[in-house]
Amino acid sequence: MKVTIDGIEIDVPKGTTILQAARMIGPEVAPPTMCYYSKLKTSGGYCRTCIVKVTQGSTANPNPMPKPVASCRTEVMDGMVVQNITSPEIIEARKGVVEFLLINHPLDCPVCDQAGECKLQDLGYEHGAAKSRYEFKRREYEVIDIGDKIKLHMTRCILCYRCVKVAEQLTDGRVHGVVHRGDAAEISTYIQQAISNDFSGNVIDVCPVGALTDKTFRFKQRVWFTKPMDAHRNCKKCSGKARVWFKGDEVLRVTARKDQWDEVEDFICNECRYDHKKTADWTIEGPSHISRHSVISQNHYEHLNELKVQLMKQQKALGFMSIDKKP
């Protein structure tokens, strides 16, 4: 099936959604997502961040679709023409979506542990308006402990349902869901029941905002002062491949590795996440790749070691060094 997104044509198999097709082309045309998660089934369709304009439905029916559509839930048709960033209408509509997402958001980024790796921050920065027009009281909730390792700030939640899908699909026995409806909807466990499942910690990683945060990392350090390293260990429960966040020699937290769409590559178990906070527990592979547009990349010299090796080679070639020293 041929589909054209922002003027770029691509051939995709049947059943692909517009979002997946756009991601195949690249990050420049892929619409931003807040609730869709490719690793979780039936996710997406809640936040409307990924809306696109379909200017031609298919070759058989070349009429445009009447309204912007959620690209994560709309499958492509042969000959479909889609506009994302090339449509001013969509840019404007997305601005509105961001405004809606931020209506009840407390904007407590200076306090929030997610700041620096928060998708809502990125979204607001890239697609949102500089000011809020909302003048009413924002909804308020008490901060809740979900188990002894996870903190829930319901005020920050955008109700993306990702954590609910994790609880449903990854962990057996669902103990965590959404209660109430509409404006009053909130993420909760039944009477603050502890989540005891081995993979429950992954709700922290899938949360696009700072609603679910790691209690063992709470207020320890701002994310951009820590250095992420890819590391692994032998784990019986999970793949053991994780990202270890250092400050000096100290391991401050362990998360799963994330790909370029900010989605977890391999879900990790709670033991890896919470109980192994010593450098000796991990085999360090090297610094994680962080996009240079992220604040986390400040003061990271990812290619420094390569440069050192090159410099050594040059010096050796010029005869400055005779000893085979490793950088």
């Binding site: 407390p106 407590d108 980024c109 200076p110 306090v111 207020f219 701002r222 951009w224």
Partner: protein, 196 residues
Amino acid sequence: MQLTNRSKLVSHKTQSFSERLYLPAVLKGMATTFSHLFKKRPTIMYPEQKREYAPVYRGQHVLKRDENGAERCTSCGMCAVACPAEAITMESAERKKGEEGLYREEKYAKTYEINMLRCIFCGLCEEACPKEAIFLTDRQVPTEFERDDFIYGKNKLVEPIDKPVDVTKRQTPQVLEFKKKPGLKHNTLFDKKQLK
């Protein structure tokens, strides 16, 4: 070959008799020195006497308290990440129940250090601060004998409750306008009920 047109020919004139005597030149110099006795003195008696500083002068930092005496700083790290000299470090802690009068937000700076030897007084920390907590003032950083003494902790940076540091000169009309805005939670007056 002449390389530039700025070169000058050196003259090798011999001094005349009066010039060799040096006396007129010496008297001329004495007259200049003497004339200064009747001019206004530029020297002032610091520290008893102080010059007026420009309103944009950037001296020693202060960590402000809010109108109820609670520390404004929430240890967000924006100043540290903005600092080009990497002079600022901090550690945060969570506010406990009953400390609402001490710290404004849920999180506060347990330690906050500025290395005054590293600091270049550029004022980027002040610009980055989202909580109106850090300001540069017209105070000078005094000299010390030990390097350690230049690392200023919270004891030197946070303003004393009874002696607030005046930063009105640095709060521009735009800043003050922003602070009046309703709906911005961190700018609204601290809720008195929370204190009890």
